[in-house]
């Protein structure tokens, strides 16, 4: 019997010829990630284990991105715990403010995550790297503590669900819309404990940035990982960045899937997820009149250069509505620089948007864009749970960057075709 791409990567990292869904295995890791929210607990737990050093100082990544630049004394203390640990352990991949970026945009950009890798991170959106054909999944701080000591994690091999998107994408439709549409169909626990494999002609034609957005949100369907087999687009992205060997896997033709879904991508319009679940999706034509107070364009889902360009295309020549705050956050320093060099910042500033240094701040209601009671935001982020961006009685609507930009101009949720 053949294996899926997920099973092949897990088998290799467990030192086995093959694995089956349900099997409990010990997996050797290529990278262990943590951030300023999850690392302080991981460090405290690591110190209880009684080893002096992390398993490999090159294979631990620490990124201060959630409450940084620090918003208050408590968050500064948290970041300091991580900084101190990084220095004491001589962690190669610690990224200080000015060099850091939103973790799931930064690590692929630097070539620290590569096809065929096995990666865990104490951040639920660690599943993003599946876009490169890696197995990556989110865990908690204690798992990271143990992995920093041993280089390993225990995993149960997940069954795989296959999602085939065929057909040509319409204008203003991208990876974000495909994944929102999918979550709308299967629900926030539709892929609970499962591997989600994305394929089909629409996926083959999707840019790397679009693929990252898709894999990023596998967790919003409860998935263990999201994965796309590497192709020429993946390899050209990786070749520019890789400084070590990597391995390209793909699923066997006779691999066993728990379920196979087929979607006609050409019939999918831009999607909006209504409060308070990412599965509460509607096509843009079904939205109706929803007035908004804030728009956030950024995050590990849609803060990449293509997202910046898409937003700028809609914003060009327009002003943000008088009653709306637009916050634009390029996800890394390199994206920031490229957006500036390509003149996108002029468009953002001319439209009267606020542009920020990289941070996860508003996505999780941490800082930089907290909503007051009764306020509504459109965000290119990944979650719209109760109180996600601030007051428990505020609301978050999830969309792609072009819908977010059009909404900022119109003062209500709007289609980019209305303004651009």
């Amino acid at each position: 019997m053949g294996m899926t791409i997920t099973e092949k990567i897990l088998a290799f990292h467990a030192g086995k010829d093959s694995v089956k869904p349900g099997e409990l295995i010990d997996v050797s890791l290529d990278l262990v990630l943590s951030n300023d929210v999850t690392a302080p607990i991981a460090i405290k737990e690591f110190e209880k284990i009684g080893v002096d050093r992390v398993f490999d100082k090159d294979k631990v990544a620490l990124v201060p991105d959630h409450y940084t630049p620090n918003k208050d004394i408590k968050s500064a203390e948290q970041a300091k715990i991580m900084r101190g640990f990084a220095r004491a352990q001589k962690i190669t991949n610690y990224f200080e403010i000015g060099r850091m970026g939103v973790e799931h945009a930064l690590l692929p950009e630097l070539g620290l995550v590569l096809p065929g890798d096995a990666i865990i991170g104490a951040d639920s959106h660690t599943c993003t790297y599946g876009a490169l054909g890696a197995f990556s999944t989110g865990v908690g701080s204690t798992d990271v503590a143990a992995a920093m000591a041993t280089g390993k994690v225990w995993l149960k091999v997940p069954p795989t669900m296959k999602f085939i998107f065929d057909g040509e994408l319409g204008q203003w439709v991208g990876g974000k819309d495909l994944i929102l549409y999918l979550i709308g169909k299967i629900g926030v626990d539709g892929a609970l404990y499962k591997a989600m494999e994305f394929s089909g002609s629409a996926i083959c034609n999707l840019s790397m940035d679009g693929r990252f957005a898709m894999a990023n949100m596998a967790i919003e369907a409860g998935g263990k990982n999201g994965i796309i087999a590497p192709d020429d687009i993946t390899l050209s992205y990786v070749k520019e960045r890789a400084e070590r060997d990597y391995k390209v896997y793909e699923s066997d033709d006779d691999a066993e899937y728990e379920e196979v879904f087929k979607f006609d991508a050409s019939s999918i319009e831009p999607q909006v997820a209504f409060p308070h679940l990412p599965s509460n999706t509607r096509g843009i034509s079904e939205v109706g009149e929803v007035k908004i107070d804030q728009v956030v364009i950024g995050s590990c889902t849609n803060g990449r250069i293509e997202d910046m360009a898409e937003a700028a295309k809609v914003l060009k020549g327009n002003k943000v509505h008088r009653d709306v705050r637009l916050i634009v956050i390029p996800a890394t320093q390199a994206i920031y620089r490229q957006a500036m060099a390509e003149g996108l910042f002029d468009i953002f500033l001319d439209s009267e948007a606020a542009v920020s240094t990289p941070t996860c701040g508003p996505c999780l209601g941490g800082h930089m864009g907290i909503l007051a009671k009764g306020e509504r935001a459109v965000a290119t982020t990944n979650r719209n749970f109760v109180g996600r961006m601030g007051h428990p009685e505020s609301e978050v609507y999830l969309s792609n960057p072009s819908v977010a930009a059009a909404s900022a101009i119109m003062g209500r949720i709007a289609s980019p075709s209305e303004v651009a």
């Binding site: 409990l24 999850t38 104490a122 908690g140 503590a145 143990a146 967790i219």
Partner: protein, 166 residues
Amino acid sequence: MIYQGHAHKYGRDIDTDVIIPARYLNTSDPIELGKHAMEDLDGEFVNKVKAGDILAAEENFGCGSSREHAPIAIKAAGVSVVLAKSFARIFYRNAINMGLPILESAEAVDAIETGDEVKVDTDTGEITNLTKGLTFKAAPFPPFIQDIITSGGLINYTKKTLKARR
């Protein structure tokens, strides 16, 4: 271990943002986190919950963020056991790794109402609703996970395995 207390029951898809809102994540102090457990879902939860009480919920409990602050906050608020129809996978791992007992049983959850006196035996998976006089059996953990639990969590388990390797 046997736990006994009053049940507090909630619905499906209880996410980590309502279990412990991100505005409190600038600390990892359990006592501070415990003060805000379940705050955005039920502002009265921390006043109602008594040490040893049991939390019951429908499907997909703990979905969303990987924040271990979620099981930490629940435990620090006094909850001894969480019962649900199903758990989100990161929450499930986190609870096992840090030693918060959790059990999956749709039948037990269906029979529980807030205020019921419930007894849970985590060794056998037996859940007894003392108020209603009903007994249910949750699926037992695989031996490997049982080993983590009896070791006192993943850190102790890791200590043990590293020692054995030397």
